[in-house]
């Protein structure tokens, strides 16, 4: 487990440091989605539930800090995908980098779990669209979906 945590943090330090505008943040997001959708990639393994609690907590704290620094930098430079936001969306000026970083980590965690069970990157992309809305334009997430596309059968007792 320790190796996966270290590998992801090493990779994230480099990739997030290179994010200087909304388009590059979108590129970062695409790469992370690819990593998480690759079975047994360091990212997929690092986000699994098993493993040492203290090490996992430290890993998540450090990743969250890297994301927070990146978002903070984007806000200060004013170079985000704000122009793509529709009038109703959360404005970057209102965005709190630390809290947004928590939502992004939750979206990566929860979205990848939903994507694993669905065998489809769509839920993970939907999660990141919501989490990154103040900072980047919405990804083209394929055709519109209906989550209840078919009637759910009666569950067994």
């Amino acid at each position: 487990m320790r190796t996966h945590f270290a590998e992801v943090l090493a990779s994230e330090s480099v990739c997030l440091a290179a994010v200087t505008n909304g388009a590059k943040l979108a590129g970062w997001r695409r790469r992370v989605v690819e990593e998480l959708m690759t079975p047994r990639s360091p990212y997929a393994l690092a986000l699994r539930q098993a493993g040492d609690g203290a090490e996992r907590a430290d890993f998540l704290d450090r990743w969250r800090e890297l994301i927070t620094e990146t978002l903070d930098r984007l806000l200060r430079s004013g170079s985000t995908g704000d122009t793509h936001c529709s009038s109703g969306q959360t404005r970057k000026a209102d965005a709190d980098p630390r809290k947004t970083a928590v939502l992004i980590l939750a979206a990566l965690h929860g979205g990848s779990t939903l994507s694993q069970i669905a065998k489809d990157p769509w839920p993970l992309n939907a999660a990141l669209d919501l989490a990154l809305a103040p900072f980047v334009a919405t990804e083209d997430n394929g055709p519109a979906r209906t989550v209840m596309s078919s009637p759910i059968g009666t569950m067994s007792p």
Binding site: Q49, H109, V147
Partner: protein, 208 residues
Amino acid sequence: MTTADSHNGRRLTARGAKTRTRIVTAASDLMYVKGVRATTLDDVLAASGVSKSQLYHHFDGKDALVRAVIDHVGERVIEREREALGHVSTIRGLRRWRDALVQNNALRHGAYGCALGSLASEVSDHDAVAREALSRLFNEWQGLLAGVLRRLQDGGGLAPEASADQLATGLMAALQGGYMLAQTARDVTPMATALDMALAHIESLSKD
């Protein structure tokens, strides 16, 4: 009186059904607290007080038991969520739903996470039947959230062009990821933050 055993199609007597329920309930509790992988059939035998032959009468092995646990936990969660979300049509109602989940998780310092989400993160790799069952259950849960968002749209509380399904999936991911962050931190604060941020975004879509 007989009851159908959903997995092997056998008819169960009332006594057989009671034994099966005892096994599944004990397994559900153990898997929630210890995790699926760490729970052995011997643990389930000890906790349920049934004999090995009784357990194997109902279940071929651990995979079959895990599938029954998914059905059992899923039914409970969906019933709870249908009750909580079935008539919600405002952001305030969604916030009350968030408060209940966060408060409930705070009682355990976030230690165990979501009963259904924990199963999803542990069993999705190696059992396609279990994975598909979980996928259906999460679809149903997200469908309840999408229903709330459509009612919000009907009432003018959410822009009509917003995709209720996509937002519902994003909100579910924030919830599940929030549970996982809380579990690691042994503190519900990150779960509360993730849900608040997701709901704030949904609320922002109602503004002109």
